[in-house]
């Protein structure tokens, strides 16, 4: 493992650098311990998100391009190799076919995905493959996905990843702190990660599928934001249940309240299981409705996804040609 990026140049920064980072707050459970979440009501609202708003035609094409720009294009598998990671990086640079971009009149936007997300061992490969693209590398960390390793190792891993050139660190929280109600321990842990990150941006993965209740999701969101998270993220993609709309609603409402209280912007990243263009649009509508348009840009919004891009490409081709597209017509990662 090398301790510095292979080339002498600075790796790309996180797009979240555009706004002031969330500095966090001192631990104060009174800010969140009275929050209650009613699952039925949340599900009802989540159910109407897609029914109340829709985007069609040119608007839809624009929204899908925007979705591409918010993707953390991800590979997190045991069989990842440098070759696989390089292919992914190239796809991140050129996510949509040029002829489609031309037809849509957006070639000059220089559309890329928001980031490439890999395990620590592939940071350097990715940084070098993305050189000059402006695309940052995100690394999952802290014993991802289960987080069942000693804290010292977790902190060491964060630091190593930053040194290796990762501009964004996706950490997993210790679910046990949530499940045992040890909010202070969770706060301390996340605050330590934030410190270890230095300039790199911190995304905290709550693994909501393992937190038991929506109230726990809300409380954990608050603790992570208080401890200085730049993004709060639903899932590793490895839990039995990953990103869902109800969970997202709870988390983005926490972001909204945190903003009201502190004036600090925290980003949102749903991850795992979002594979369809249509679903991506629903998530974006959720962001626009419950937060605002600032959360439709990579600085504050990401999709953690691997297969989503392929479906978006097919929808874009359909928009351009009026014909339903085929998977093999678009480059794989």
């Amino acid at each position: 493992m090398s301790s510095s990026s292979s080339c002498g140049r600075e790796p790309a920064k996180s797009p979240a650098d555009h706004h002031e980072r969330n500095p966090g707050l001192a631990f104060d459970p009174s800010l969140f311990d009275r929050i209650r979440v009613n699952r039925s009501a949340v599900e009802r609202r989540a159910g109407t998100i897609a029914a109340r708003r829709t985007v069609k035609k040119a608007n839809q094409a624009a929204w899908l391009l925007r979705a591409v720009s918010c993707i953390d294009l991800t590979t997190l598998a045991g069989d990842d190799t440098p070759g696989k990671v390089k292919r992914l990086c190239l796809k991140a640079r050129r996510p949509v076919r040029d002829d489609l971009l031309d037809a849509l009149g957006v070639r000059d936007l220089g559309l890329t995905t928001a980031a490439v997300c890999v395990y620590h061992n592939h940071i350097e490969t990715a940084v070098s493959a993305l050189e000059g693209s402006g695309i940052p590398v995100a690394a999952v960390s802290t014993g991802f996905p289960a987080g069942q390793i000693p804290l010292a190792l977790k902190l060491a891993q964060v630091k190593e990843s930053v040194q290796a050139g990762a501009a964004e660190i996706d950490i997993v929280i210790s679910r046990q702190h949530v499940l045992t109600g040890n909010w202070k321990a969770l706060y301390d842990e996340v605050a330590a990660y934030r410190k270890a990150c230095g300039k790199a941006h911190l995304k905290t993965i709550l693994a909501t599928g393992e937190l038991g209740t929506l109230s726990n999701v809300a409380h954990a969101s608050w603790v992570c934001m208080m401890a200085g998270a730049d993004f709060i993220k639903t899932s590793t993609g490895k839990e039995q249940v990953n990103a869902t709309l109800p969970v997202s609603l709870v988390m983005v409402r926490a972001i909204r309240d945190y903003l009201d209280l502190t004036g600090h912007l925290v980003g949102y990243k749903p991850a795992g299981g979002i594979g369809k263009a249509k679903e991506a649009l629903v998530y974006m509508i959720l962001m626009k409705e419950e937060l605002d348009d600032r959360w439709l840009r990579p600085a504050l919004f990401r999709f953690g996804a691997s297969s989503l891009l392929g479906d978006i490409e097919r929808q874009l081709e359909h928009h351009v040609t009026g014909r339903y597209s085929a998977r093999h017509r678009h480059a794989v990662a």
């Binding site: 039925s40 599900e43 029914a51 040119a58 624009a62 849509l104």
Partner: protein, 796 residues
């Protein structure tokens, strides 16, 4: 705009639903909507048509037949002709038709949705996702009820021809709520849709024709209030079901008074939306969108009075205002809007006027800076805070997207403010504390209570009002009873079954009998014996015509006092059913202990022989035992609504019931009417039989020794007709049961309209009080309760 620009602006853009198929359908009809009578399309007898418009654009959609008496006459005749056959095909036969109707609507769901939105102005999303699916569900559910009617409701038969008048806010859904149960139970129907929104009723009639529904089973007469009035007044109609304003409901109550027409009224509301500080605040904010910005607020059960706990009020309002800023008011046919057009320019004027004049009494108005489309009937979402209960905005139904709000300090105050209304249709309670929610729900005067929700409906749950929001239920098994009659009702007699003794009153006390110790019967009010306000008494005669006592001549003020005592005895309504049962058993026990005394009195007053008097007494005892037994067994239900929730249908006492007991039936009439009422937790003001008044005044001594709290049973002797009128006119009496003359029945139903009290009158017919069906049973209990549906969603 170019994709490039949209990539920056990230606007939603427009998403119009196509109107083509609906236009095609209207064109096929030549732009004309006619009556559907006896399976045929019929032009109006008067030859006149009026236009119906799309309120979002002002465009004329079609010309609508203007129905009159003559059209109604034809339609009722057609329905009457179809009745026998419709009953004869049986439950299974009717179930098949209802099932086919459900299927057919489902297959044409989009056409119905589009047409509904064009005619009414509601967002296409709502007609597509709410109205039409609920319509389909209603027909499926009631197809099932038709199938199982004989097993589930063996004691009941159809009423006959039913007249139904529906409003414009949910045109097809209100049609379904009325038509499905009516047809399921074997009635035939004449429907009068609202003049603003006739289109989907015509399309529905077309579907009925297509599924081969026998001619005349379902008829539509279009038109305005003229047609409605003709339907209400038609002698061939056995029942009127009306949904609409309280004002019109009152007119219909009076118009049908004394006719024997069964009536359900689903009227206005000003439903409270109660937000406690321990709720899921963001969800409570979102719930308001479902409560008051659903269907432009043109919902009778809209949560239109926001009550927020003072400790969170400012924060809550702030969140509400921000939510309101996101609401999109737009063309009803756009799939991406929240609020469409009000139904008509007239309605827009009304809402505007009410808000403008209401604001002069105070309140702070807030409306988001949203763009309103031009050319249609649009009104922005509105929040008015700091509205006091004394103001018009708090009291009057606005029927638009306007929420008024105030604050409360404690749960008790929340209940008081919530119930401070003449209406009582629905309520929402927001709290995460089930302990609090389940304490508040039964205390609210509302037919539907939604915990952590708003405006939830289903075919399996009853819907309907308390107080001036009307009476009767739609949906659930409770709704079916509105479309049937018990078989025994047809057996009621034109002449008294139990006979009063015939005698010529003697002026003097029988000189041959030595005077007994003078016992003074009194009124029994609030658990105390008291003298009548007027200071007069009437002679009480025995069966031979001899005066045996003086009975107080109660007057208006005695009734007033008795009602006040009954009102104050609310602890009885809140007591456990077991506790009430114990008291009733104790009454029976103490009555039994005085058997000889009562038998003697019956002999003296009725002229029956001792054995017959003993038999009557035993029946009284048995009946008391029956209602003591039923006190904790006439239970509510858990309805099977298709959501993750428990929908509790609770039987609640009406409150204060006036009872004018049958003159001819003595102690048996008294026991048969009073016991079921108090068993269910009501407090009663009884006007006992005049001739048998001494049995009632003897009876209060039994009550006095039976732990019955004072005020639960109040007895006012005197002229039954005069006292009945005072009770009927009293605004603090929830129910009135009257067994008397035909004219008296008419008076009761007429006067009851003022406060929409629930009445049960005999139209001058006579029960056989010894008959186990006519004198006792669930029918009495059902009349003694109001069904409240409490929706309790759950999920961690």
């Amino acid at each position: 705009m170019e994709v490039r620009d949209l990539f920056e602006s990230m606007e939603y853009g427009k998403a119009p639903e196509s109107k083509d198929r609906a236009r095609e359908w209207l064109d096929q009809r030549g732009g004309v909507l006619d009556h559907y009578i006896g399976g045929k399309w019929v032009t109006p007898a008067c030859g006149e048509y009026f236009p119906t418009r799309n309120p979002a654009t002002g465009d004329i959609l079609a010309s609508v037949a203007d129905g009159t008496d003559e059209d109604i006459g034809h339609a009722v005749a057609a329905a009457a002709d179809a009745l026998e056959g419709w009953v004869a095909i049986g439950g299974q036969g009717r179930a098949r038709y209802l099932y086919a109707i459900a299927r057919h609507i489902q297959k044409n769901a989009r056409l119905f949705s589009v047409l509904e939105s064009m005619d009414n102005g509601k967002p296409i999303r709502e007609s597509r996702d709410v109205d039409i699916p609920l319509v389909v569900r209603h027909f499926y559910h009631h197809a099932g009820w038709a199938q199982v009617m004989r097993e589930q409701m063996p004691a009941f038969r159809p009423i006959g021809v039913v007249g139904q008048i529906i409003p414009w806010n949910f045109p097809l859904l209100m049609l379904a709520w009325k038509v499905a149960p009516a047809l399921a139970m074997g009635n035939t129907v004449v429907l009068k849709p609202a003049e603003f929104t006739p289109a989907t009723a015509v399309l529905f009639a077309e579907m009925c024709a297509e599924v081969g529904l026998p001619r005349g089973v379902f008829n539509v007469v279009l038109g305005d209030h003229k047609a409605g009035q003709a339907l209400v007044n038609h002698a061939g109609v056995g029942k009127i079901a009306f949904t609409g304003s309280t004002e019109v409901g009152r007119i219909i109550r009076k118009a049908t008074a004394g006719t024997g027409k069964k009536l359900t009224l689903e009227l206005g509301g000003k439903s409270p939306y109660i937000v406690f500080d321990d709720c899921d605040v963001d969800s409570a904010v979102e719930g308001m969108v479902d409560a008051i910005w659903f269907n432009q607020g043109q919902v009778c059960c809209a949560g239109s009075r926001l009550l927020v706990q003072e400790s969170i009020a400012e924060r809550f309002y702030d969140k509400v205002r921000r939510r309101m800023e996101r609401l999109i008011v737009g063309d009803s046919m756009d799939k991406g809007i929240d609020i469409g057009a009000l139904v008509d320019a007239e309605q827009l004027d009304r809402v505007t006027r009410l808000v403008d004049s209401g604001l002069q009494e105070g309140g702070e108005l807030w409306q988001p800076e949203c763009e309103l489309p031009t050319g249609g009937c649009f009104y922005p979402p509105t929040l008015i805070t700091d509205v006091a209960p004394a103001s018009q905005l708090w009291q009057e139904e606005i029927f638009g997207p306007v929420m008024v709000s105030g604050t409360f300090r404690t749960p008790v105050e929340a209940v008081e403010l919530a119930n401070n209304s003449r209406y009582g249709l629905a309520a929402s309670i927001w709290t995460e504390n089930i302990n609090l929610a389940l304490d508040i729900a039964p205390r609210l005067k509302a037919g539907s209570v939604w915990i952590n929700g708003a405006n939830q409906f289903d075919a399996a749950a009853g819907f309907g009002g308390y107080r001036e929001s009307g009476f009767g239920r739609e949906g659930g098994i409770e709704g079916l009873y509105e479309y049937v009659k018990p078989f025994w009702e047809s057996r009621l007699s034109k002449d008294p079954v139990q006979q009063l003794p015939r005698f010529v009153p003697a002026e003097e006390i029988d000189p041959h009998e030595a005077p007994a110790i003078d016992r003074t019967p009194k009124l029994y009010i609030g658990g105390k014996q008291c003298r009548p306000d007027g200071g007069y008494s009437n002679a009480a005669y025995d069966a031979r015509g001899h005066v045996i006592a003086e009975v107080p001549a109660g007057n208006r003020k005695d009734i007033r006092n008795a009602v006040e005592a009954a009102r104050a005895a609310e602890g009885w309504s809140a007591a456990t059913a077991h506790g009430r049962a114990q008291v009733l058993f104790y009454i029976a026990e103490n009555l039994a202990a005085r058997a000889d005394e009562f038998v003697k009195r019956i002999v003296s007053l009725s002229g029956k022989d001792a054995a017959a008097a003993r038999a009557e007494f035993e029946l009284c005892l048995a009946r008391t035992w029956h209602y003591a037994s039923m006190a904790d067994k006439f239970e509510g239900r858990v309805h099977e609504t298709p959501y993750r929730n428990v929908t509790l249908a609770m039987n609640e006492p009406l409150g204060v019931i006036g009872i004018v007991a049958p003159e001819e039936a003595g102690l048996l009439g008294f026991i048969s009417t009073v016991m079921p009422a108090i068993a269910m937790g009501n407090r009663v003001v009884v006007v006992p039989s005049g001739h048998y008044a001494l049995l009632a005044t003897d009876f209060y001594q039994v009550l006095d020794t039976s732990d019955l709290p004072g005020g639960v049973v109040n007895i006012v002797t005197g002229d039954a007709e005069v006292l009945a009128e005072t009770l009927a006119r009293h605004l603090d009496v929830e129910g009135l049961w009257y067994w008397g003359t035909r004219a008296g029945s008419r008076m009761v139903e007429t006067e009851a309209a003022a406060s929409m009290k629930r009445t049960w009158v005999n139209y001058g017919l006579f029960h056989d009080w010894e008959d186990p069906e006519q004198g006792q049973g669930d029918q009495f209990l059902r009349r003694a309760v109001e069904v409240k549906n409490i929706w309790i969603p759950y999920g961690v």
